[in-house]
Every structure is written in structure tokens, then in C-alpha cells.
Subunit: 193 residues, 2 copies
DNA sequence: GAAGAAAGCTAATGAGATTAGCCTTGCGGC
DNA sequence: GCCGCAAGGCTAATCTCATTAGCTTTCTTC
């Protein structure tokens, strides 16, 4: 029998596809093995186990997300950049409902690519905030606010948490507009920086 | 041997305690049974299974959260109410790291108490927004923005997603201040209401 | 063409969820 | 007080999934 020719990468990629199809919480090693046409224990030659697969999936996802955020920000500034990155973020979460939650894991310190991808995503946000004149502690606070608002929105949306008939697209536009207003008139923390 | 004297309520409450101790994802029927001093299958006389327990846990949690939000809002208005409810929300999430994520499930339509608790939490938010003069579609958008920002923040915080040394308490204050600014100067959607 | 590492396999173990079916407790009605 | 019976708890069995151990086979390299 010829070999299946697996690599850690093919395993993680298949896991990503399955996660998007059935949801991250229903991703199992058994399903990955079945889809790749191998017996379950064979996967252990490529990944350390279910936890490690999850972490690698997170690294893949945050790298993809960071790339799309960076691309969206390219050539834009201020409110345009804010809107483009926010749209790219939500779009990624909607196209990849399984990968997206995996992307939110804290990068594993022993995986330099994971750490780098996390930093790239964060850098895309800081670049936007520079356009609003926000730096230092203000930028940290504003970046956390941006991440919170956008992440919270796409998470609640994915969970079906928005029941009212009011259009969700419209609400997201309003949320982004609210961020724009807040960033333009960023509240003074009332302490020296 | 005397009976253990379980009820659906005692089972759910013990599950809530365990979830807070070890995390919702590690909550198992086996652990609940063990803590209650019964065999695992005995639980099925009180809850339909693991999924149902999770849903009931969500109902318990959103009811608790809604109560604390309502209490925080009592006697306050405007920015004070906003700050108090936001603080109560984050506080609940920190005190109950296992219950909190369960509280985010969409209420089961066949559980009237669950639905009512969800509505109560939402009403607490609408009450705040009325203080800012936000009603109708604006209130829907603003409520989604508030939920997104606060839920996103506490979720990222719980996941350890804020790595920078900047104090997280301070960032939360700034997020709430940003919401205050946005609500006071709510962006016009540019369409008739 | 042989050696050896790498990749796959089967078998075994163990946690957890679920279902079926038994046994007993303890309450309500007499 | 006692009887009946519903409800609560149990054991046993089955299933899925994760993990480890150890065997076999396939490539690759010299």
C-alpha cells in the first residue's frame, strides 16, 4: 500500500477545513484521520495530539487573519483603514467559523511563527491608530478597545446572539463608526503619560 | 443506603461550581456525579444529558448576570449607569469564569425562564441607552455595540489575550469612556428611521 | 542493494456519554 | 400501620475519541 504522504501541514490544513465545516468544538482527530484516509494513531507521527493540533490550527488562523488585515490596511489611512480592517476581520470570521475561534488563542511562546503572526495582527491595528494620533498607553487602550469591540461582535454574531430583526450589517457599520468617533476624540485618562 | 436527594437544581448548581473551578470546557458529567457522590448515570434522572446541562447552566448564569446588571443600574443614569453596569458585567465574568461563557448561549426557546433572563439583561442595557436619548434602531445598534465591546473585552481578558504590561483595569475604564463618548455623539446612520 | 529512519498499522487502555434494565426507597392512600 | 408504585439510584453494556506501545513496511541514501 502506498503511503498517504502526510505532513504536519497537510494535517493542520485538513483540520482547518473540518473545523470550518462542523465547528471547532466538533473537530476531532478521528475526523481528521478519516478524511485523510489514515488510521487515527497515524496522525501522531505529525502532531503531538489534540491539544497541539488545536494550537497549530490557531497559528494558521491568526496568520491568515493577520495577512488579510494587513492587505486591507494597505494604501488606506484613518477612517478608511479602520473600516477596511474591521470589514476584513468580520469577513474572515464569517468565512472561517471554525478557524476564527482557534485564532484567538494566546500564541504559544515556543512557536515563533505563531508569535510573529500575532504581532503582525496587532501591528495592523497600531498602524490604524497612528492615523488617529494615538500612541503609547493611549494606543494600547485603543487597540484593546478595537479588538474587544470587533471580536465581541463577530463572536456574538456567530453564536446567533443578535436576535432582533435590525440588520446586522448595519449595526456593524454603526459600531465601526462609533469606534471612529471615539478614536478621534479619545478620552483623556486623566493621568500623565 | 439513603438517597442522595438530588434535584435538577442541585445538579446544575454543582455543575456551575465545577465550571468555575476548572473551566467550562472541562466540565464533565463524570465530575458532577463524583462531586455529588452518585454514579454517573444517576444524573440522567435529573438532566437529559451533557448538552442539556450546559444549556441549563447557561440559563442559571444569564439570570445571575442579569440580576447583577439590574442591581448595578438601579438608581443610576447616564454615564454612571454605563460604568456601573459595565463594571458589574466584567466583575461577574471574573468571579465566574466557567459560568460566564455558558451565559452567552442563545436562550433555548423552550425554556421561558432562560428567555426571560436574556431579555432582562438586554433591558438593563436599553435602560442605559435611553439615558443617552438612544431609541429605536439606534438603540439596537448601540446595544449591540455595548455588548460586543464588553463581552469582547472580558473574553479576551479571560483568555489572557492582553499581553502588554499596561494595566487592564485602566484599559477597561478607557473602553467604557469611549463608549460614553460614542453614545453621546451617536453616529447618524444616514437613513430615515 | 542494504540499512535505517520515517510513516503507517494494529492492539490495548482509559476517560467520558449514553442507554437499558434492575432494585429499593419512601411517600400517599387506605 | 401497611401496601403499592413512582422515582431515584445502581450496574452493565456500548460507543466514541484520545493516547501509548510496539510492529511492519516503505522510501531514501549511500
Amino acid at each position: 500500500m502506498p503511503r498517504a504522504g502526510l505532513t504536519p501541514q497537510t494535517v493542520v490544513r485538513e483540520a482547518a477545513r473540518i473545523a470550518d465545516e462542523v465547528g471547532l468544538e466538533r473537530l476531532t482527530l478521528a475526523a481528521v484521520a478519516s478524511r485523510l484516509g489514515v488510521a487515527l494513531p497515524s496522525l501522531y507521527k505529525h502532531v503531538r495530539g489534540a491539544d497541539a493540533l488545536n494550537q497549530k490550527l490557531g497559528a494558521l488562523a491568526i496568520a491568515e487573519l493577520a495577512d488579510e488585515m494587513t492587505a486591507a490596511a494597505a494604501g488606506r489611512a484613518g477612517r478608511d483603514a479602520l473600516r477596511a480592517v474591521a470589514a476584513a476581520w468580520r469577513d474572515y470570521a464569517r468565512r472561517h467559523p471554525g478557524r476564527y475561534p482557534a485564532a484567538q488563542q494566546v500564541p504559544a511562546p515556543d512557536d515563533p511563527e505563531h508569535v510573529a503572526a500575532g504581532r503582525q495582527a496587532l501591528d495592523a491595528i497600531y498602524a490604524i491608530l497612528r492615523g488617529y494620533g494615538l500612541t503609547g498607553d493611549d494606543a494600547v487602550d485603543a487597540a484593546r478597545t478595537f479588538r474587544s469591540a470587533v471580536h465581541g461582535f463577530v463572536t456574538l454574531e456567530a453564536a446567533g446572539g443578535f436576535g432582533m430583526p435590525r440588520g446586522v450589517d448595519r449595526s456593524y457599520e454603526q459600531l465601526v463608526a462609533a469606534l471612529d468617533i471615539a478614536f478621534r476624540d479619545w478620552p483623556d485618562a486623566g493621568s500623565p503619560r
